[in-house]
Symmetry: C2
Subunit: 112 residues, 2 copies
DNA sequence: ACACTATACCTAGCAGTTCAAGGTATTCGA
DNA sequence: TCGAATACCTTGAACTGCTAGGTATAGTGT
């Protein structure tokens, strides 16, 4: 059946979104800039990445949304659910694991 | 014509390969196990990942290979070239950058 | 009044990367 | 002698994330 596991290093956009939403509710457009800021400009994810992730997280119950009209414009604020907080924990663990693994490999003294 | 940049978090298999080969010459099958070991079992890349990367690195001049017969079996040993060492440096910098960015985002005190 | 930028939402389609699953051949241990 | 381990390899597909669009409203400068 050729059932493929997700690539070993994926889900980072999801992790960052959940992490920021754990600190405060935010809307999509805001998250785009917040991710850039929170990572010290190291990571810049476009709207084409953010919105689809937001939608799939809401579909699976990790987020819930609330539309809010602000001076004529509509914003969709997202907040974490219990399931989302759980998901965040798992992704954080996964990340630390692979991050630590790579750190190990890199820390070994160089041959030169 | 829809020219896409590589995903912001790719090239880790390549990084690990180059890093290990910087320590000592190795052959493909050996690298598969070395990566598992060096990362403390955190990352496990199959032969289907390793061999293609090895070949493309050789094609672009980052590695050179040397066939060696060992008790009837043929092993292909790879070693870093100058270009490969340069490539390793760049990938290491890239990695530290994005790794640091994510660390920043995660280190901010949690809302809970 | 008009244009231009920023805000704010969204989707389709593709490109690049990694993965699973095979295939070949030799050697070694039970 | 039969299976597991060694050692090489490729194909095809899955998955993620990127580019490039699209809509609409509000603010700013001229």
């Amino acid at each position: 059946m050729a059932q493929s596991n997700p690539p070993f290093m994926s889900g980072v956009p999801e992790l960052l979104l959940l992490r920021l939403l754990d600190q405060s509710d935010m809307y999509g457009y805001e998250l785009v800039r917040s991710i850039r800021a929170a990572t010290g400009e190291a990571i810049s994810l476009g709207e084409g990445v953010i919105y689809p992730v937001l939608h799939s997280l809401e579909r699976n119950g990790s987020l819930k949304s609330k539309r809010k009209a602000v001076s004529g414009r509509t914003r969709v604020y997202y907040s974490l659910t219990g399931k989302g907080r759980q998901r965040l924990g798992k992704l954080q663990d996964d990340w630390r694991r692979i991050q630590g693994g790579i750190a190990n490999a890199l820390e070994v003294p160089s041959h030169a």
